[in-house]
């Protein structure tokens, strides 16, 4: 039988995706059978994308069937690549969509990471408008949201999305698979401007080091100048026990987070709404992260319809010392960002400290004091962060020093 492969999604409930079947033949050129709900508008464009891709892969004779429900070009390209490489695994060439200028922005080590939105790596439709909802970060997920049979195909979608989709300034994160498979994910990610790699189910600092080393190799090979940061996820008793070591494993770790589904299973209990069973683990993560000078980030809140429960959970996380929380639905973002915003008292105190700091700077003093009290540098730093967060949360006017009203 001639080599053949299929990839993608079809069926009545699928939208904005396509299913492609590829069969390599020995003569007769390229034959494309297309069934598309946008045939009259984009039929020619879809056929052109398929031909372009096959040329990149050096395929001259093939039968290709496309069932399309309005997939964007980068998705069609990803599905084609998966189908072709399932048939012909030795092909090295990549069918890369143009790297768009809007994908070319950076991040910083200490940026706000209040809300990070998980996006299943093989569902491009959810990615397109994700950034519009203004999460601090988006996570293109290659791990738990992807079926085992689709791990290979999701890599192409995530890679193409990193090059194509405008995330509107959100930090661009990718969650790779548990090691060792996750190390293989990195070559599909690192050359395409990811900001942070999430490493799941970490139990040992050497796992972080392994990812870091592979990232550095790939950065070098692909001349990637921007730093790529790491966020380990601890999801077991052992991982939580070693929270500090894991957070301190590499200077590129910027945050540490926790996954409670696996954790509670691992310690032999179940998640409850009150969360008493995970209190130690969450505190451990906060302390481990703080000890390593990285951001502690809380897990996701699973009930997307319960906004009050979400807010309560955010306030609890904030009280425990977390800087952020994961989300699985865009409507959770505003609630999380609001929850992590400083309250009035915090802002007033921070403003006084910042003003004192400004005055000390202007006067050339090395020491900041407020009334008779001396203010330590970490407190000043925290106050500056609080003020910035208040401004970003829309509670404080950017020009508050000039007497601007509260926003």
């Amino acid at each position: 039988m001639s080599p053949n492969g299929q990839a993608g999604r079809r069926g009545d409930r699928v939208r904005s995706d396509c299913w492609i079947s590829f069969e390599k033949t020995t003569d007769g050129g390229i034959n494309i059978a297309l069934k598309s709900k946008v045939e009259s508008m984009y039929g020619d464009s879809i056929r052109a994308t398929v031909r372009e891709g096959l040329a990149v892969f050096g395929v001259e004779h093939a039968n290709v069937t496309v069932e399309d429900t309005g997939a964007l070009p980068f998705v069609i390209a990803a599905r084609l690549e998966a189908a072709v490489k399932r048939a012909l695994p030795d092909i090295d060439a990549e069918f890369l969509p143009e790297f768009k200028a809007h994908s070319n922005y950076g991040t910083t080590r200490n940026r706000f990471r209040r809300s990070r939105l998980y996006l299943p790596g093989d569902q491009s439709k959810l990615m397109l408008n994700a950034g519009l909802h203004r999460p601090d970060g988006v996570i293109l997920d290659l791990e738990d949201s992807i079926a085992h049979t689709e791990k290979d195909a999701a890599r192409y979608v995530v890679r193409n999305a990193l090059r194509t989709v405008d995330f509107f300034g959100a930090e661009r994160m990718v969650r790779i698979n548990q090691l060792p498979a996750g190390l293989g994910d990195l070559e599909f990610v690192v050359p395409h401007n990811p900001h942070v790699i999430l490493i799941p189910k970490v139990e040992d600092p050497t796992q972080v080091v392994a990812v870091d080393e592979r990232v550095q190799e790939l950065r070098k090979a692909h001349s990637v100048e921007a730093e790529i940061y790491l966020m380990p996820i601890v999801e077991s008793g052992l991982g939580c026990w070693r929270a500090y070591e894991i957070a301190a494993a590499s200077p590129n770790v910027v945050a540490l987070t926790i996954g409670l589904e696996d954790y509670t299973a691992d310690i032999g209990t179940q998640r409850t709404k009150e969360g008493r069973e995970s209190f130690w683990a969450r505190s451990q993560v906060v302390n481990g992260a703080r000890a390593a000078r990285v951001q502690p980030i809380d897990t996701v809140f699973a009930d997307v319809t319960d906004m009050e429960g979400l807010l309560a959970s955010v306030l609890e996380a904030k009280a425990l010392g977390f800087d952020g929380k994961g989300c699985i639905h865009p409507r959770q973002i505003a609630v999380i960002n609001r929850g992590f915003a400083p309250d009035e008292q915090e802002i007033e105190k921070a403003k006084r400290i910042v003003v004192a700091f400004d005055e000390a700077q202007a006067a050339g003093y090395g020491v900041v004091s407020l009334g008779s009290k001396m203010i330590d540098p970490p407190v000043v730093k925290r106050a500056l962060g609080t003020v910035e967060l208040a401004v970003r949360s829309g509670i404080l006017a950017r020009d508050w020093r000039e007497g601007g009203d509260d926003a």
Binding site: V38, Y42, L72, N129, R331
Partner: protein, 520 residues
């Protein structure tokens, strides 16, 4: 069938100068066409011909149609208050088929997917063509050239206007009535098929030669309030059920969970607030579509927060509008149709929940109509072009899939907002030129997409009203360029044949555009 002569109208569209054998006036521009002549009127009736007892009952719909003098080629009208649960329209044409009647014209106020059997009656010759909105399967049938006559799409107000002006003469009107008495008084407030009101049947009752009321909840005289007056009615008959209640109104109206739609609805509400439209005594039109419903809910929250009250809200009503009324956030609901059980209950019980008709709300050939003084409306669209022209009947692939509804009439509001996604699947919503022109750009003020808000440059007042707010105001060209880049270029234009399959009327009866048969 060859096309009639085509003329270029004031919007630059080529339109038929004749529709199904009658001369038609090409669109002349908004507010440019001045009607002359007098209103149509049915023959003078006399009590001599009607039973003094007031009992107009006949055994069944077939008998009623025979008594009403049904003949080949007549125009039969129905209303669409029973929406996708309607049993009556299909029953009428089944009866006509049994009677061997041919070449009828169906003149519904709207059609739904439940009317798919009508396609068979068009194929077997019982129905010649439809003058009315064609949704789903009927639109598809028409687009592919299946209908012998030319379809005519009108707005709700345009339908009233066409009947009143004598453009359409209704031979027999069949009014499905959730509750009626033997004299023909009828309302939609109670009964197994309760739908709230019967406003869409008003013109039919007033102007048709013969009027048949059909009900599944016959009560003793008097049936009050008489939304339809028995004095217009010739015959009353019954059916076991006039509709499927579960498809007439929903038990509870679901709000959308789509984050993008919610974002669009929220931005539209913020626009109304921040542009200063939301102020004490204002008014707006809600709807039951996912986005317009959510818009009303967001606006309600903002009104509560700001302590602002509306004077009236235009329905389609839902539990959310009735909550506004009951909470005192609005003095009145002026309702055109009720979409859920709570809306029906409120209309039945609350005197401030008022029923309206296309005559009061929408008729352009009247001495004013409400539509022009609803402060803002939110409407849908399948496409909008860079000149703010909008399409609501065809998709970008050229298929006719929706009716106009009250959409054109609502364009006369001082602030017309279209909250629409910037693209659907791969299909951009903002285009160079709409496939079918339904609403001229001069009447469309604001496009709210998930990627930003575009304000019609003609509305400098609105532009300056929101300057300095944090609303993402952008030009329509910017939005279009961003989407075209995302979807891989503007779509190819649909391929049409020559034949005109449907005409699109403007609110004044002139022809604003037409739909051509799709090339196979």
């Amino acid at each position: 069938m060859p096309n009639p002569e085509m003329k270029k109208n004031a919007a630059g569209r080529m339109v038929p100068a004749e529709i199904n054998g009658r001369e038609a006036v090409p669109f002349r521009g908004v507010g440019k066409h001045r009607p002359d002549g007098t209103r149509a009127a049915p023959k003078v009736a006399t009590c001599i011909d009607y039973p003094a007892s007031g009992n107009k009952l006949v055994p069944d719909i077939k008998t009623a149609l025979v008594e009403a003098g049904i003949r080949d080629g007549m125009t039969i009208s129905t209303h669409h208050h029973l929406r996708n649960g309607d049993f009556v329209a299909n029953a009428i044409f089944d009866a006509a088929a049994e009677l061997g009647i041919k070449e009828l014209v169906w003149f519904p106020s709207a059609s739904f997917p439940c009317h798919k059997p009508i396609i068979e009656h068009m194929k077997n010759g019982v129905i010649h063509h439809i003058e009315g909105s064609m949704n789903g399967p009927l639109g598809d049938f028409c687009s592919h050239g299946g209908m012998r006559g030319m379809g005519v799409l009108r707005s709700h107000g345009g339908r009233y206007q066409a009947v009143q002006d004598g453009e359409v003469h209704i031979d027999i009107s069949v009014i499905a009535a959730p509750t009626a008495d033997p004299f023909g008084n009828a309302h939609g407030l109670t009964g197994p098929a309760a739908c709230g009101l019967l406003g869409f049947a008003l013109a039919d009752s007033q102007y048709a030669d013969r009027v048949i009321v059909v009900t599944d909840n016959l009560i003793d005289f008097p049936c009050v309030p008489w939304q339809i007056q028995g004095n217009y009615v010739d015959f009353v008959t019954t059916m076991d059920a006039i509709g499927d209640a579960s498809k007439i109104v929903s038990g509870t109206t679901q709000i959308t969970k789509s984050p993008d739609r919610l974002r669009i609805a929220e931005m539209a509400a913020r626009f109304v607030r921040d542009a200063g439209i939301m102020r004490d005594g204002f008014s707006f039109q809600g709807g039951a579509g996912g986005t317009s419903l959510s818009f009303a809910i967001f606006l309600m929250d903002m009104m509560r927060e700001a302590g602002v009250k509306a004077r009236f809200v235009r329905g389609g009503s839902t539990q959310y509008l009735t909550r506004m009324l009951e909470e005192g956030l609005t003095d009145y609901i002026l309702d055109g149709q009720t979409f859920d059980l709570d809306g029906v209950r409120s209309m039945r019980e609350n005197p401030s929940h008022v029923n309206t008709s296309p005559f009061t709300s929408y008729n352009y050939h009247g001495k004013g109509c409400f539509a022009s003084f609803v402060d803002c409306v939110v409407l849908g669209a399948t496409e909008v072009d860079v000149n703010f022209n909008a399409n609501v009947v065809t998709h970008s692939d050229g298929r006719l899939l929706h009716g106009i509804g009250g959409w054109q009439n609502c364009l006369f509001s001082p602030c017309v907002i279209l909250p629409i996604p910037a693209f659907r699947d791969r299909i951009p919503v903002i285009v160079d030129e709409v496939t079918t022109l339904c609403g001229p750009g001069e009447l469309v003020d604001v496009i709210v997409t998930e990627r930003g808000i575009a304000i019609n440059p003609r509305r400098e007042d609105l532009l300056s009203a929101v300057r300095g707010t944090d609303l993402p105001i952008r030009t329509i060209e910017e939005l279009k360029a961003e989407i075209d880049d995302l979807v891989g270029g503007a779509p190819a234009k649909p391929k049409f044949g020559d034949r005109v399959v449907a005409a699109i009327k403007w609110v004044d009866g002139t022809v604003i555009d037409c739909v051509r048969q799709l090339a196979e």
